[in-house]
Symmetry: C2
Subunit: 193 residues, 2 copies
């Protein structure tokens, strides 16, 4: 009997491309020390003129420390189409909401299915969001500014039931953010040009 044999790690269990061994390790670590579950995500944005602006996303805090694994920031542009007086060089802010929602529902479903041993072969989704521009334009106090309704249709190749996958997908943070309310504190500082 050698110490190398007894300390050799078991092969990680991978399901749906997710390292389930690491996922359960994370869950056990959070159960032991709930404070490490606290994450802070960040973005910095600069206006580029007209309807164009650019975010840079790099650092975040999580697992009890400042995460420094990202060496380069992710750069994300936003713009408006011509009908909304932009140059159409990037997706609009409200389209980014649909991307965030689609990606979060998908990842959440895949991770939670993996933790339960449910194999998923493919996930494809389409999203539609209805928005009445009178809210943004301030033309009607009865019309809200954001989406009035979002419809998500997901098609999943799996042996699991749609009922079970629906329950799993609703662990999604972005589903919670959009379908419930988040306190948003906006502070604007001005300086003379």
């Amino acid at each position: 009997m050698s110490i190398t044999t007894t300390t050799k790690p078991a092969a990680a269990v991978i399901q749906n491309g997710v390292n389930v061994t690491a996922l359960f390790d994370t869950i056990e670590a959070v159960k032991r020390e709930p404070a490490i579950a606290g994450f802070q995500f960040r973005a910095a944005n600069s206006w580029l003129g007209g309807g164009r602006n650019r975010s840079t996303i790099k650092g975040f805090r999580g697992a009890g420390r400042e995460d420094d694994a990202r060496l380069q920031p992710f750069t994300l542009d936003a713009d408006e189409p011509a009908v909304l007086l932009g140059e159409d060089r990037a997706a609009t802010p409200v389209e980014f909401v649909l991307h965030a929602l689609a990606s979060c529902l998908t990842t959440t479903m895949v991770y939670h299915a993996a933790a339960r041993g449910i194999a998923i072969e493919s996930v494809d989704s389409t999203l539609e969001g209805d928005l009445d521009l009178r809210g943004f334009l301030g033309l009607s106090a009865e019309v809200r500014k954001g989406y009035q309704q979002i419809r998500v249709r997901m098609r999943v190749k799996t042996t699991a039931s749609s009922e079970q996958l629906t329950v799993l997908s609703k662990f999604s943070p972005v589903y919670d953010i959009v379908s419930n309310s988040v306190p948003v504190d906006v502070v604007i500082e001005t300086s003379a040009p």
Copy 2:
């Protein structure tokens, strides 16, 4: 006197890079025919394995018709960092929410300022979102899955007051989406692999 002289359009008024003449034309058109204010934005997303997926965003309906001005779709990837068991090839879904919020607050402030003749020279913002992973992991029914709080700090070079800009920025559709609740209908269809 020639007909070309009398039908020559007046030079468009541009403020903050926004065509204010076109903006007021839009407002007048919506007042005459409110139905053209109805927009539908869309996204399609496919899972790429593990925490990775990709959205394509192209068509939308607005101004009373299907907009076909976009010739190529915008492609947006999402991923998770290593600490969340991903490959860190793209921003996370919850970081996309911060980008959507930053870009929408900025564009909304700039457009509404332009309509009021307020010159803006620069806008820079930083955003922070607090998220407790116990919600996503299903480890506590008391902890919500999404952001518990989002803080936005905007620095604007302008002669306008921060109070006025705060009012203008809150016409933002994504601010409304995040700070209030949107009905989200999720339908999942399954098929055997």
